[in-house]
């Protein structure tokens, strides 16, 4: 986290330095104003909110850190938090492994129709998450969807995407489908940055494909992989659209605390508990940022 991208070091000397410095701040200011309005302000506001309690009867009272104490022993919160942790522990590695294999394959130049693969695999990323969840929701249906057709073909219930124990897998499948291409592209871009000379040198040394992958390509994508992992972790913790859409189809299997995000949403918009919802969001944000930071730290340390 320490290295900053290089900046121009202005030559010593009063007026010009001051002017350049002002200009630099000027370029960044518009972003910072917007950032303050839509990031810092809500964040500060939710910190403020989390110190209160809302009641239908009796209005709003200051309760200090009571909400935080409550979140830590709230079984519903942990139910959702543990579920998304399980989800990310399984789904993220699978998704990234697929993305990595695809990126390596496309980068290897050994595919027929490389362009087709690159675009085809990337297409799902352009599909809005809601639309993706709706489509898969239809397809998962045992009665009218592809699942039904497949099961008819097999003659028995081969697939049961809506069964209790498969549901999280079904959701994971939707998320994987949506983001494999995106991650593939990030990794592929990193691979393309390996200077050609490196490969040439390796080829002269007589390294075979697997050695090149192991000793040149994998190290080359590590940074990108860490970034992709961090984004995927953040995404998993925010899981909302897919379970929320599927809830209409399997109402009893997706509870109001299925993910922390759904829980916070239910609390604030159905339960009139905005303060507690803000607390849940903050705690979840801290956990997310903490885990993301750890992954980043670990990923980078191994590297150096």
């Amino acid at each position: 986290m320490s290295a900053l991208p290089p900046a121009t070091r202005p030559r010593p000397g009063g007026r010009l330095t001051a002017r350049v410095s002002r200009a630099g701040a000027g370029f960044v200011t518009p972003f910072l104003i917007a950032f303050a309005l839509v990031f810092i302000a809500p964040l500060a506001y939710s910190l403020y909110l989390s110190l209160f309690r809302n009641q239908l009867v009796g209005g709003t009272q200051f309760v200090g850190l009571d909400n935080y104490a409550a979140v830590f022993v709230d079984p519903k919160f942990w139910d959702g938090a543990l579920r998304v942790m399980l989800f990310l522990a399984v789904q993220v590695p699978i998704m990234l492994a697929i993305a990595l294999v695809a990126a390596l394959a496309i980068d290897s130049g050994r595919l027929h129709g490389r362009r087709l693969f690159r675009i085809g695999l990337f297409l799902p990323y352009a599909v809005p998450g809601v639309v993706a969840a709706m489509m898969w929701g239809f397809m998962y249906s045992d009665r009218i969807g592809l699942t039904g057709s497949l099961n008819d073909l097999a003659g028995f219930d081969l697939l049961a995407p809506y069964a209790k124990h498969w549901l999280l897998v079904s959701i994971g499948n939707i998320v994987t489908w949506e983001f494999v291409g995106y991650n593939m592209l990030i990794l592929y871009s990193a691979l393309k940055n390996v200077p050609t000379e490196t490969y040439e040198a390796a080829a002269i040394d007589g390294a075979d494909q697997f050695r090149i992958v192991r000793h040149i390509k994998l190290p080359a994508v590590r940074g990108a992989l860490v970034i992709a992992t961090v984004f995927s972790i953040i995404g998993s913790f925010q899981l909302f659209n897919e379970p929320q859409i599927l809830k209409g189809l399997v109402p009893n299997l997706i509870s109001t605390s299925y993910t922390p995000n759904i829980y916070a949403y239910t609390l604030s918009f159905q339960g009139n508990q905005v303060s507690y919802a803000a607390t849940v969001a903050i705690v979840m944000g801290v956990i997310t940022a903490g885990i993301a930071y750890l992954v980043q730290l670990r990923g980078m340390r191994r590297d150096s």
Binding site: M1, A3, P5, A7, T8, S21, G24, A25, G26, V28, P30, F31, A34, V38, F39, P42, L43, Y45, S46, I106, S108, G109, R110, H112, F117, I119, G120, L121, L123, V127, P128, G129, V131, M134, M135, F138, M139, I144, G145, L146, W177, V180, G181, I186, A190, K192, N193, T196, A224, I227, F240, N261, S268, F269, V274, A277, A278, I282, M284, Y293
Partner: protein, 301 residues
């Protein structure tokens, strides 16, 4: 995050295969990846067949083939006329959100990233830390407080409620920062300074041109994020006339329930298809730019 950049290498290499050897194409590998390709396009294929079906066919016919009637044109006509033609309205709203929101996000990120990469000023390190931290904050975790804050500002149920949050893309800023650091040679700026050009003038006449691939990349990420935005409109908007496509489609899906239910699943499917088309076209058209922009700006050891 120890990151450095090699902007030029990919561009010099173009998209051709390695020059050190032209690897033989492998059938096995192609077939293997073919399965992944099928997985990726299967739902889209299902959607393509789906838009040709009317409601009864949709629920009775096999998903990967045509139904009894070919209703594509009826569906298209109905999507655009149903409920007073509100789909067109949603479409236009989405365009507004994308142009103003994603466009603004790109502008802010470009200027900000450039400023951070090419200038030294007090507080620069703090900006770096805060923005990186912001990337890790779940966006939806902020949604509820944002809603409450906006509601106090009287911004809920206005287009601003969608546009303002879209204006900020920490990831875009970061991408642009990394990209600009390499893409714009410092010597060029210093030469311009010696010539007495103002920083703004230098930015528009010299730097902007060099930043194009990065800008396109940032823009595309912002466009996708805005086009696909669902959670924010869900909580911010209650007037259907302000809905973007995603929320509108969800509304149509929800219309199937309760007293006075009007199931229009065929319109949901056709609408979903129409929602995807523009964004896919955008990707294909801008492909050349963003691929070079992404590889140039992407993270690398």
């Amino acid at each position: 995050m120890a990151l450095t950049l090699t902007r030029s290498s990919s561009r010099l290499r173009g998209s051709s295969a390695y020059s050190y050897s032209r690897p033989r194409r492998s059938i096995t590998l192609t077939v293997l990846l073919g399965f992944l390709l099928i997985y990726s396009v299967l739902p889209l294929t299902w959607l393509l067949f789906g838009i040709t079906k009317d409601q009864p066919d949709l629920i009775s016919s096999f998903g990967l083939w045509f139904g009894e009637d070919f209703s594509l044109f009826d569906n298209l006509a109905e999507v655009f006329t149903y409920d007073g033609g509100i789909f067109t309205r949603w479409f236009l709203n989405t365009i507004v959100y994308v142009v103003v929101g994603a466009g603004g996000a790109t502008l802010l990120a470009t200027a900000g990233g450039y400023g951070l990469a090419k200038f030294r000023f007090r507080g620069r390190n703090a900006v770096f830390a805060v923005v990186l931290g912001a990337i890790a904050v779940p966006g939806t975790a902020l949604a509820v407080p944002t809603f409450l804050l906006f509601s106090q500002l009287g911004l809920t149920n206005t287009m601003w409620a969608i546009i303002l949050p879209s204006l900020v893309s920490p990831f875009g800023l970061y991408l642009m920062w990394v990209f600009a650091a390499e893409a714009v040679p410092t010597e060029l700026l210093e030469a311009a300074r010696v010539d007495g050009a103002s920083e703004l003038r230098t930015f528009f006449t010299i730097s902007l041109r060099l930043l194009v691939p990065g800008i396109v990349t940032v823009a595309l990420f912002a466009i996708v994020a805005t086009w696909n935005n669902y959670f924010l409109p869900l909580i911010m908007l209650n007037d259907p006339n302000l809905f973007p496509l995603t929320l509108g489609l969800y509304r149509w899906l929800a219309d199937a329930s309760g007293v006075g239910a009007q199931p229009v699943f065929h319109l949901v499917i056709t609408g979903a298809f129409l929602t995807i088309v523009p964004i896919v076209i955008t990707f294909l058209v801008l492909q050349r730019y963003w691929q070079s922009g992404l590889s140039a700006g992407s993270v690398k050891q």
